[in-house]
Symmetry: C2
Subunit: 338 residues, 2 copies
Amino acid sequence: MASIKDVAAQAGVSVATVSRVLNSHPSVSAEARTRVLAAVDALGYRPNAVARSLRTAQTRTLGLVISDVLNPYFTELARFVEEEARALGYSVIIGNADERPELQDHHIRTLIDRRIDGLLVSPADGGSPLMREVSLSGTPMVFVDRWIPGIDVPVVRADGTGAVKDLVAHLHELGHRRLAIIAGPAATTTGNERVEAFREALRELGLALPDAYIGQGDFQAASGRRATEGFLALPEPPEVVFAADNLMALGALDAIRARGLRVPDDIALAAFDDIPWFVHTDPPITTVAQPTAELARAAVRALADLIEGRTPQSVTLPARLVVRRSCGQDATDQRSTR
Amino acid sequence: MASIKDVAAQAGVSVATVSRVLNSHPSVSAEARTRVLAAVDALGYRPNAVARSLRTAQTRTLGLVISDVLNPYFTELARFVEEEARALGYSVIIGNADERPELQDHHIRTLIDRRIDGLLVSPADGGSPLMREVSLSGTPMVFVDRWIPGIDVPVVRADGTGAVKDLVAHLHELGHRRLAIIAGPAATTTGNERVEAFREALRELGLALPDAYIGQGDFQAASGRRATEGFLALPEPPEVVFAADNLMALGALDAIRARGLRVPDDIALAAFDDIPWFVHTDPPITTVAQPTAELARAAVRALADLIEGRTPQSVTLPARLVVRRSCGQDATDQRSTR
DNA sequence: CTGAAAGCGCTTACAG
DNA sequence: CTGAAAGCGCTTACAG
């Protein structure tokens, strides 16, 4: 592969001049510029990003550590993150933690070793010592979706409180009184917040959330299945199951089917996170939808601000309720809402 | 961030010795090793991967260019690719082409500029000049899933011929005679092969595949919707629609629902690519499943072989039919197959 | 076993 | 406007 030296030789100038042309430095004669550009073209020269990074101490690369790529919510988030980063001139390297703290740390390590300019993370757990260390070390860092109390970095996330309240009101209107939730890991903020929003919304309607109606999940399908099996084995099973993410909802559906029950006739189901497939499940699933694209964009912008020395903003965007048919519907409202 | 110089100073040795310890070079005294390790620990030193890459001319990084991350098939592929790569000591950087050739080229460029050790690609189109150039330039490269005739690199893919034949036999048994397909882009190998396998299977049963029953899609949901609308508007609509990937099947479902028709009573539906949600759609969808994990592993191994100077192997793995309920079922076979 | 030195491919103050 | 030189943080032949 041709190096800057080859280009300099071919153009009959110094490597300094080649570098100036490549970086559009103003003080280069038109003639030198032409000769360099011709040489670049002739040799098919491409600057070595590794060398450039070593010299400039910046990689124009962002690290994105997400808890589970297979979760469509995070896949979508990752896609929009890359899109916005590209628009701002950054590449992004994704690290998938598979909801495993040690894998998360592995990726953070690797990313830091590669000297990424900044880190976007949706922590898989309550936060490892490494994550705290990284934030303290001055590496620009932003939390997206999930965050860790006590680590002082900008947070870009959705607030589901209002939407969960709307959901509970919707369920109440449909006559449901025994509502259960499959929670995410207690160590994650989203795991907690969704349960608390749910509990609070129930309380306002004078409904209780007994412990037996709180299933402990880990945002993965299998845990949704297990939790739902637990609910169904109860002497008085709930009338509604609310899964705190889309994968646990998938598991819940599995469990309900396996029991030979039907949604919403035998039991209602709602989920957090809207995904394209929810329109086509049997029945279409009522969900709390997050503004994924906007979250991704705001997170990237906050990180770029931090990297480039501007003041970053924490952002909280509201989630919203999308009513479909999985919780039942009353006779007066036969239209299905997309 | 501490550099190798700091470690050397702290340990009272030269940077050469530090480097040797870090790379477990045999000829280092036990005492020097201890001192270096202690210094590394004290300083929290991590080698700068950028500098190391510049010096060694290798990045221990693989590039993976996929045509669409939002397609669950590719998401899963990417996940397993990263897993296997990690096991072999490589990181992977994913480039998402969104089925757009120019975006694909952008990612290939960026990846090459970063001097990745090898490139895994599932081409979004018939292959750009750039892709050919890269393969010729000696950059280790392997095609996965899709490939480009005339570019001589190892190919790791699934062969759907047998499974498509099984599918067509299944459809024929259920009494279906008018079968349509939503094809992928003609420029992609998977786009072509699936149509050809389908056509051939029909031919063997004495059935024709009229042009009107071949919808042109692009592996995205919207195209599946359009193609299906076209089929349904035909004077004699097909009895079965076979979508050549899972996203077009999603679009087909959209179109069928919008028309107020039901699957499989009014029209049957089958798809290529199995994904977890197909179990929970209404009805569960009959598909041709690819051995995604095995494909990913074989592709990474082939690429590592190429990079490390061994002889890589092209691999073709069979896909298999998974029968569910979206094509109807006869009275004697009431069990639903997972 | 160890260190001084060269060099990977760039960028950038410095001097002219 | 231009070039020689230093230096980013490593690794590794070479000499001892």
